[in-house]
Amino acid sequence: MAESAEDRASRIPRVLRDRLVWAVALLLFLALWLPHSQGWFAALFPELDRPVYRQEPFIDLLWQHVWLVLVSSTFSVVVGIAAGVAVTRPAGRAFRPLVEAIVSMGQTFPPIAVLAVAVPVVGFGELPALIALALYGLLPVVQSTIAGLESVPKPVNESAQAMGMTPAQVLWGVQMPLALPLWVAGIRTSVIINIGTAAIASTVGAKTLGSPIIVGLSGFNTAYVIQGALLVGLLAVTTDMAFERLARWVAWQR
């Protein structure tokens, strides 16, 4: 008897059918193969004598970029969630209007401005990038932490209190699990913005996937630009897919 399409499909292991796995694989493949793609790019851009970016291996740039975003986002998430929780507690309530005002005002500032302003303060290199990414990444996280906690229905809060849970038990057992979907959404926004800002961080001396792009732009080398853009674009899309997966996993409403 002939196999149906579904039978054939289900014979392929789940992991190979996963779009996210393919995306990550493509990203790593590109990062490793691009240095060897001389022939390709030479054919596409015959006028360039250096069609492939060689100053650093792409896999190193990829790792640098990921590291920058990872470290700054960890700070943003930890401090941001702590701040969001703190201003929704009775003790911190006085500070909430101000924190909300700072957060919404801060988001009208373009991320590039925060990056540029960090340089006169701490100089060039990775430090201004880390600081700018960490500070700017705080804003969506704080906003979504507060929104998430506010989204817990009042009767649920009231019941939890009335049953004799301590404030810590209410926070950890009831409020946080229910707020988590919004928190993840905020972290996702923060990380995606940071990936973009980290690409521009090469203008302040950090070596990231933006470096080939910036070098290519100033040197009129379109091949460099495409290589960098492909990699950083793919990194962003892959990360977004991963967060989409996380968001679905976290949604408590089955």
Partner: protein, 313 residues
């Protein structure tokens, strides 16, 4: 068991509860009733310290409630509200198990209690244990809410308009279940409502509140036969006060052994006089047969007798 001594509570300069003095004895089913803004919900929330009273005292088992650890106090009282507030991310089982877990009961005892409570509210434990709140109907959610409030077998059950959001059929069913629970367990129940019929059905003691003060305290019969003032009389409903009184009387004292017509409709001997009168009016007859618990007709009642005070008993 719970005593308010000249208790007051203000918000924004308005006294929600104004010099309230009230005693709630063990085993009573006390219903706080009054119009909006009468302070009934506030008074309820003062008992488990969701709100803190500004002056006066509130005693629980003889001690001022401020001398208890607030968490321990709340774990000894069940609390059920109109919007239920079930934890959406937990199963029915986990919801009901909340306070027992806080108190550190063993797993097996908790499981047993969950089964017991679900059965009590006519919800098949096998089916409902693992359901989530969003998979339940409104009536089922409220049942689980009350079950959760009863889970740790508290001495006191506080309820704030628990049946207000339900359709009339479910509401009636749940009211009867509450009555059964009270009679079976002997718990002290304090229920807030604005529905006078609910109060008359459930309460052993009705407390009428107006603008934070007690207007009248008494059994449903006392309230209906001797309302303290016009406010109470209006609140109860002047026009059908008599009909409401009829619902407090049973048919049994009026049954005579004279047989009814063979084709006459019949009612159970445990019915209220109000049900009998309603049946007569619906059928357009003046005599009803009366059935006992086996279904056998054992006598009859006459319309003319029912409106008079009972002859025997």
């Amino acid at each position: 068991m719970i005593e308010f001594q000249n208790t007051s509570k203000s918000y924004d300069g308005i006294k929600a509860v104004d010099g309230l003095s009230l005693t709630i004895a063990r085993g009573e089913f006390v219903v706080l009733i009054g119009p909006s803004g009468s302070g009934k919900t506030t008074a309820l929330q003062l008992i488990n310290r969701l709100l803190d009273h500004d002056s006066g005292r509130i005693l629980f088992e003889g001690k001022e409630i401020y001398s208890f650890n607030v968490r321990d106090l709340r774990r000894r009282m069940g609390y059920a509200i109109q919007s239920v507030g079930l934890f959406p991310h937990w199963t029915v089982e986990r919801n009901i198990a909340t306070v027992p877990q806080l108190l550190g009961w063993e797993r097996s005892r908790i499981d047993q209690r969950v089964t017991e409570l679900l059965t009590l509210f006519a919800m098949d434990p096998a089916i409902f244990r693992t359901r989530y709140p969003h998979q339940l109907s409104g009536g089922q959610q409220q049942r689980v809410g009350v079950a959760r409030a009863l889970a740790a077998d508290p001495a006191v059950l506080l309820m704030d308009e628990p049946f207000g959001a339900l359709d009339p059929v479910t509401r009636a069913a749940l009211q009867l279940e509450m009555k059964r629970v009270h009679e079976g367990s002997g718990k002290t129940i304090v229920l807030v409502t604005h529905d006078i019929d609910e109060a008359l059905l459930l309460a052993s003691k009705v407390v009428v509140l107006d603008r934070g003060r007690v207007v009248q305290v008494g059994s449903p019969l006392e309230l209906l036969s001797k309302p303290a003032n016009d406010f109470v009389a209006d609140f109860i409903g002047r026009a059908d006060r008599g009909i409401k009184l009829l619902s407090l009387r049973a048919v049994e004292p009026y049954v005579s052994s004279a047989p009814a017509a063979p084709d006459a409709p019949s009612i159970a001997i445990t019915a209220t006089v109000r049900e009998a009168v309603s049946c007569m009016a619906a059928a357009g007859v003046a005599v009803l047969g009366v059935r006992n618990s086996d279904g056998r007709v054992v006598g009859s009642v006459q319309a003319a007798d029912l409106v008079l005070p009972a002859r025997h008993g």
